[in-house]
């Protein structure tokens, strides 16, 4: 009797588990993932002059194919493969994985012979700290975090607030309703930098502009970077509340923001990559501009420094001046305001405008 109750229970539970898992991990990116899961692994570019330059990439949740943050890092690797003859091996984090899995990812890449490791995302900081200490001969590039430092760690950071300032200005110049939106993936200090810069740029153009802000998840739940459904729901809400331009800093969830923009006939702003080139073809026409965070530049720079023997530990900041962040012009939707945006850009580079980062 007990057993049959359990079985009936089991069937019901399976449904709930399935729903719960979906809600939690939000099925990652629903879009097709070109070359997902390291199909590029092991492929070599040109023959290197000296010994092989072997680069291990540890991606954040979403991995190659998120059309955003991780993809940007991946294109840095692709460039290094093509130009420096680097060999690459890639692995991505899974939602809700234990800390040991991140450590293990780095260590297994090293065990497989990859002596330059790029850890993409601040969640890797504790793991990098530990594994870098255990492997002093391996060079680490840690993107977006200064929490782990060491003689073999380069901290690759970006002035996201400066790029966000420019797209904030673009949004304020383009809005007809004077209401714009911001969708953040996870409420962290990093993503708040995007929000702060965006708001400052928008207010600089029009102090009366109203900004709706929504973060998809709260730490320690990082699924907000890989939940198309959550991004879509948040943006739908904003478009219904009069917003006509929404900027997302939400990684893979941004795909949902674009879908919502398409459905509402409104505009959206991409992030990290030039998303008018990388997003699903069906939604590219809603992308006003993208805040390009050139993780690829940082990654490539790191790999090149290892190859050239110029690796230097410590923080390397890629700002507007260094070409680490920018706004994109693909699609031609900002052509009419380009002069104004470039004016802001020049002022930031010259130091006349100080963009807040919080």
């Amino acid at each position: 009797m007990l057993r049959s109750t359990f079985l009936r229970q089991a069937t019901k539970v399976a449904a709930v588990v399935a729903a719960g898992t979906l809600a939690l991990s939000a099925c990652g990116s629903s879009s097709p993932t070109p070359g997902a899961g390291g199909t590029g692994a092991g492929s070599t570019g040109g023959a290197p002059a000296g010994q092989a330059l072997k680069v291990g990439m540890a991606y954040d949740v979403g991995g190659r194919g998120d059309q955003s943050f991780n993809d940007s890092a991946a294109s840095g690797l692709d460039k290094a493969k093509a130009e420096l003859g680097a060999q690459g091996k890639e692995a991505a984090a899974t939602t809700g994985e234990p800390e040991s899995a991140r450590e293990e990812r780095l260590q297994q890449l090293i065990d497989a012979g990859y002596t330059s490791i790029v850890a993409v995302g601040f969640a890797y900081a504790p793991a990098v700290k530990k594994i870098a200490a255990d492997n002093p001969d391996v060079k680490f590039g840690l993107v977006d975090s200064t929490d782990a430092t060491g003689p073999n760690i380069e901290n690759i950071t970006f002035a996201e607030q400066e790029g966000s300032y420019l797209v904030g200005a673009a949004a304020a110049l383009k809005t007809k309703t004077n209401v714009i939106g911001f969708v953040g993936g996870v409420q962290t200090a990093l993503i708040k930098k995007f929000e702060a810069g965006y708001a400052a740029g928008a207010k600089a153009v029009n102090p009366a502009v109203q900004i709706q802000v929504k973060y998809l998840t709260q730490p320690p739940d990082f699924s907000g970077f890989a939940s198309v459904d959550k991004g879509k729901a948040a943006a739908e809400g904003m478009y219904q509340q009069q917003a006509d331009v929404v900027y997302h800093a939400a990684g893979g969830s941004g795909g949902g923001v674009f879908q919502a923009a398409k459905a509402a006939g409104k505009l959206a702003i991409g992030v990290d990559s030039d998303q008018a080139l990388t997003a699903d073809a069906a939604v590219r026409d809603v992308i006003l501009t993208s805040m390009v965070k050139k993780v690829d530049v940082g990654v490539f720079d790191f790999i090149k420094s290892v190859k050239d023997g110029t690796f230097k530990a410590g923080t390397k900041a890629f700002d507007l001046k260094a070409g680490g962040v920018d706004y994109s012009t693909t699609g031609g939707k900002v052509d009419d305001i380009k002069a104004k945006l470039d004016d802001y850009k020049a002022k930031i580079i010259a130091g006349e405008i100080k963009v807040p980062s919080a």
Binding site: V17, F122, Q218, P219
Partner: protein, 370 residues
Amino acid sequence: MSRLQRRRVLLALAAPALAVVVAFVVTSLILVVARDPVGQVWATLLTPPRPRLVVAILNGAIVYYVSAVAVAIGFRMNLFNIGVDGQYRVAAFAAAVVAGQAWLPGPLNVALGLVVAMLAGGLWAGIAGLLRIYRGVSEVISTIMLNAIATFLVAYLLRKAAVDGGGSNVVSTRPLPDASRVPGLPLVPGVSREVYGLVFLAVLVGLVYWFVLSRTRFGFDLRATGASESAAVASGVDVRRMVVTSMILSGMTAGLVGMPLLFGQDYAYGSTFQPGLGFAGIAIALLGRNHPVGIAFAALLWAYLDQQSNALQITAGVSDKLVGVIQGVIVLSVVIAYELVRRGGVALEQRRVASLLDASSGRPAEGAPA
């Protein structure tokens, strides 16, 4: 009689065996469709893990085990505590804040942290229990909603309680004093990584779960209520009280889920504290059939698959999503296999009874269900 028992044992073993076969076949099919290297994937998955990885698997399983037991307590009472995920986060946060203050010295501080965690988890789950008996709210709905509330509440309080990380992306509570950190156990020789010291806690949770459910009056009442509420009422069980009590017990156990992590690894509750343990616990409890030993095997299997994700990506070159697919397929296979085996068992039983009746009455048993 011994033949019957043998058949029962065979049936009990048939279910997991069938589940494994179904999972194997379905996963292979998915791999073929996705044009992934099937042989390479299985070779990687079946390679014995290195000692370093063994420790990681044990540590993962310790945490999963406690989570699954918390879920199983509800299951035995026919309660679906989907809220273990929220309960363990509320509890881990509360324990981290209290233990971080270091009001008590060393081990006493650890004990205080454990008590606080159990109280917090129990209280959080108790809300769902009270809602069920006073307002008739299904605990499935209320615990899922309480998960969302827990997320926001903890995020809000975390910002209040956080120590300044100096612009760091990681927000966390005040770290535990050194004296309150539970040292790891070097169970596997030659590896720097250690097994969580609170592995004893998980073992204790399993023992208490087994003892209370199968050796006490309370445990009998709980199982009886889960099996048939009306029968339980008839035998004098106060069902409303049982609902609240078992929900609170489930929540108290859930409160302990994060403790090995808090005292053995992270030493603070922060934005990198492992999420999603409660949902994994549901699948593991199901896989382990709510049995204290079964759950242990299921937790090990789950942690093993978790840790193979890296090897699959790095050695076999397949997507990181594959492990999630395999885990999902296993849960579905288990449900399907158990149901098939149950139906098979019922059919066998009916045939046996029919033939016995035949023999005793000397008439063909008409309409005996096959």
